[in-house]
């Protein structure tokens, strides 16, 4: 029997910019809604042990980054030696929908909910695609 792998969702933790807050919250909400996904704190790739470094090898990963520096996607490649299955970048979304651009680095304002929901929708679409590939 083939054991189904869980999908790794890796978010930038985004202390430095509002888009990071969005990526973290959207990722967390998905993690609380579904039981077929797991996560790891991105900085643990460096601070943790081999088990943490192997996370991206052991789980097909979707990265959710706040900006085009794409720390989560690069972290997966750097430490896991694999490419993420899919990458979502919040600043790409706000570039196309400028009215959604968030302002606070420390909290989600009511007007940010639309962007969080849009990000969750995209994450869900990517999870579905990766699950199809895995089957």
């Amino acid at each position: 029997m083939k054991i189904k792998r869980k999908i790794g969702l890796i978010s930038c933790s985004g202390e430095g910019l509002p888009e990071g807050m969005i990526s973290r919250v959207a990722t967390r909400r998905i993690l609380e809604e579904r039981d077929d996904v797991v996560t790891i704190c991105l900085p643990l790739f460096l601070a943790g042990g081999q088990e943490e470094r192997d996370f991206a090898k052991d789980n097909p990963c979707i990265t959710v980054d706040g900006c085009d520096k794409m720390c989560a996607a690069k972290g997966v490649q750097m430490y896991g030696k694999v490419h993420p299955k899919s990458s979502i970048v919040i600043s790409d979304i706000t570039e196309k929908h400028k009215h959604l651009k968030p302002k606070s680095k420390s909290r989600i304002e009511p007007q940010d909910e639309k962007l969080v929901k849009e990000t969750m929708k995209r994450i869900t679409e990517e999870i579905d695609k990766v699950e199809e590939e895995e089957e």
Binding site: C12, E15, G16, R29, L46, C71, M78, K105
Partner: protein, 103 residues
């Protein structure tokens, strides 16, 4: 800290930028005094700064803050709640004190 208490004297950096060895970020932590705030025992912020030989001037562990303030219970990851908000303010105050002691 960086948005309300000392916006002109402090700045925050994205920890993952250190994890991926972003040159500009590594330079920043080497050229500026740093205080790390860690949420769990893994102490990723402190370890990442130390790994890149940053100028570490202080470190705060939120678990210690919780021990020092047993009545302030943080809520969930998505909503820290009133207790978490107060704990965040106390942590910010402690950070200001570290900065004050340095000056």
């Amino acid at each position: 800290m960086t948005e309300e208490l000392l916006p002109n004297d402090t700045d925050s950096i994205c920890l993952p930028l250190l994890t991926i060895e972003d040159e500009e970020t590594v330079r920043k932590i080497r050229e500026n005094p740093c205080i790390t705030l860690d949420g769990c025992v893994a102490q990723c912020a402190k370890k990442n700064v130390e790994h890149h030989h940053g100028e570490l001037k202080g470190s705060i562990r939120i678990l210690d803050m919780i021990k020092e303030n047993p009545k302030l219970k943080p809520g969930t990851v998505l909503d820290v709640g009133p207790g978490g908000e107060q704990l965040a303010r106390k942590t910010a105050e402690k950070t200001v004190k570290i900065i004050g002691d340095r000056n």
